[in-house]
Structure formats: C-alpha cells, structure tokens
Symmetry: C2
Subunit: 215 residues, 2 copies
C-alpha cells in the first residue's frame, strides 16, 4: 500500500541500473503519450527499450507505478521551469503570464512527455478504484491550482483582477494551457513556439484583467 514513494524495501541500484531505469522510463514516456496508457503494453515498452519483459519488474512494482513515476518526474520538471521563469519581484499578473508562457514552452519542448500531465484530466481512466496512482494524480493537479489561486488573490488585492471566485480564474488559466498543449500535440497547430507562448500569455492576461498588458 505504499512502497515507491520513498522508503521501505527499496532496491539499491548501480550506475548501470539507474541508466537502465531511465531507458525504460524514456521508452514508456514515448509510448504512453503516443498510444495512451491503456494501449501501451509492457511488452511494447520492453521492445522499444530492447530488453526482456521481466526486467520491467526489477525496476518497477507495477505498470501503474511506472506510470506514476513518470508523472511525478514530469511535474517536477515543469514546476522547476515555471519557477525559473517567474520574476519574484514582478506583480502577480505578470508572474502568472510568465508561468503560463513557461508552461507552453515546456510543453512544446517536451511534447511527447507532456501528454502525460494531460492525463490528469482523465484520471478516471486510471482509478479503477483507490489505486495509489489516483491519489498521486489528484494531489498533483491541486498544486498548480493552489499556486494560481494565490497569485490571483494577490492580483485582486492590487486591483489588477476584478473580484470573483479566484478558483474560477485558476481553472481558466490552467485549462487554457492544457488545451493548447493538447491542440499542439495532435493538432494542425504548426505555429512557432514562442509565438504560441506569447499568444497564450496574452490570452490569459486579457481574460484575467480585461486589458492587454505589454510584454
């Protein structure tokens, strides 16, 4: 009922072992995001990585846990990218725009992988019932929400955003990023990445404030 998150019964890996694990995660990421979780067989992952099927279970307890690890890792990277992009001295609205643009760029650069985070929408797909994974996903998506909610509150306090439920604004902000991510992936959206990021940033700012803010 636990294992994996951190302690208990953890295997020790050599240099080579760690690398092999990354290979598997890499292969899994590509397949999951192109064919979807359900349509990706353990055997596919192994074939892609060029190893035998049993090996997966040396590194991961279950398919779900392998997936969860991928999601955690992607999320960590994304948050780092966001944090790096947000100027701590800027006003909340600007910070939201910076975070949004960073998300778009990140998602474009990691197209394949980013699809995984999109799964948070269809969590239901995974949670047959209280699988540990379901928790990981839920708790994870909340992180972004609370972040944005806080920024929106700050912005409202400064009069940059009109009054209204901050949660609603947050849903809008997160949703639009997710939408463009999705559209960019399976879509006929062949625009320049920076252009797209700017567009989305502008979209969010206009939606939040009703005014176009300069870059």
């Amino acid at each position: 009922m636990n294992a994996s998150t951190e302690p208990s019964e953890r295997r020790t890996h050599t240099e080579q072992g760690i690398e092999r694990k990354h290979q598997l995660l890499e292969a899994a990421a590509v397949l999951f995001s192109s064919k979807g979780y359900a349509n990706t067989r353990i055997a596919d992952i192994c074939a892609a990585a060029g190893v035998a099927k049993g090996l997966v279970y040396w590194y991961f307890p279950t398919k779900e846990e392998l997936f969860a690890e991928l999601v955690r890792s992607m999320r960590l990277q994304l948050r780092r990218a966001q944090a790096a992009a947000m100027d701590p001295n800027a006003d909340p609205l600007t910070r939201i725009r910076q975070g949004t643009e960073a998300s778009v760029v990140f998602m474009a650069e990691h197209r394949a992988y980013f699809a995984l985070l999109d799964v948070e929408r269809s969590q239901d797909e995974l949670s047959g019932r209280g699988s540990d994974v379901a928790d990981v996903l839920r708790e994870g998506s909340d992180v972004y929400a609370t972040d944005v909610i806080r920024l929106v509150r700050d912005a409202q306090r400064l009069g940059l955003v009109p009054d209204g439920d901050p949660q609603l604004y947050a849903v809008g902000v997160l949703g639009v990023v997710s939408s463009f991510s999705h559209a960019l992936r399976n879509g006929s959206l062949d625009v320049d990445v920076d252009e797209l990021a700017a567009f989305v940033g502008g979209w969010v700012i206009r939606a939040l404030s009703g005014e176009s803010h300069g870059s």
Copy 2:
C-alpha cells in the same frame, strides 16, 4: 468496416426494442462517465440495466460502437442547444458568448453524460489503431472548431477581435469550456450554474476582445 452509421444489415426494432436500447445507452453513459471507458465492463452496463450480458450484442456490434453512438448522440444534443442559444442577428462575438454559455449550461445539466465529450481530448485512449471510433471522434471535434473559427473570422472582419490566427482563438474558446466542464465534474466547484455560465462567457469575451462586454 461500416455497419451502424446508417445502412446495411440494420436490425428492425420494435417499440420495446428501442426503449431497451435507450436503457442500455443510459446505463452506459452513467458508467462510462463515472468510471471511464476502459474501466467499465460490459457486464457492469448489463447489471446496471438489469439485463443479461448477451443482450448488448443484440443492439450493438461492439463496445466501441456503443460508445461511439453515445458520443454522437451527446454531440447532437449539444449542437442543438448551442444553435438554439445563438441569436442569428447578433454580432459574432455575442454569438460566441451565447454558444459558450449554452455549452456550459448544457454540460452542467448533463454532467454525467457530458464527460463523454471530454473524451475527445483523450481520443488516443480509444484509438488502439484506426478503429472506426477514432474517426468519429476526430471528425466530431472538428465541427466545433470550424464553427468557432468562422465566427472569429467574422468578428475580426468587424474589428471586434484583434488580428491573429483564428484557429488559436478557437482552441482557446473550446478549451476553456472543456476545462470548466471537467472542473465542475470532479471538482470542488460548487457554483451556481448560471453564474458559472456568465463567468465563462465573460472570460471568453475578454480573452477575445480585451474588453468586458455587457450581457
């Protein structure tokens, strides 16, 4: 490779048969949208509808086709709701807002069922490979897109929306509706429906024009 869309080999149904078919669709809708497509067993649907398992295959060739029929039906209803809400004499921007608000209301009223349309995002889940269903989904989501794109173009021509790729605007509009739909379903979003609709309508208008338009 065809069957079902219309012709060939179609069974004739009695009054009772049609009703039974609706029962099955109803049960399937509830289960699919609460547990997801992959986690819903044919057996579950039958249990919920109180019939034997074999009966499903009297009315539907496969599980996928049953699903596709649900999606088609939901989409039809939604488009009707949108069309009814849009004033043919209003300006394009207003029409977009009306369509958006209608979508939100529709989605709130059909919470459970609407989840199915959300699946269009995770089409990949279904399309193990060129399954007919994948086509139905793709082609279907395009309908909304082209509609919105046309309206955006009109609005731009009238100077109501700044220049820029109409497709990008369309993705934003459709995405935000989908996002709020999703948030409302599995979410802590317990706001009044009309209030939410108004919020989303306003959001879209601001994002499109940079100005708040009155209701």
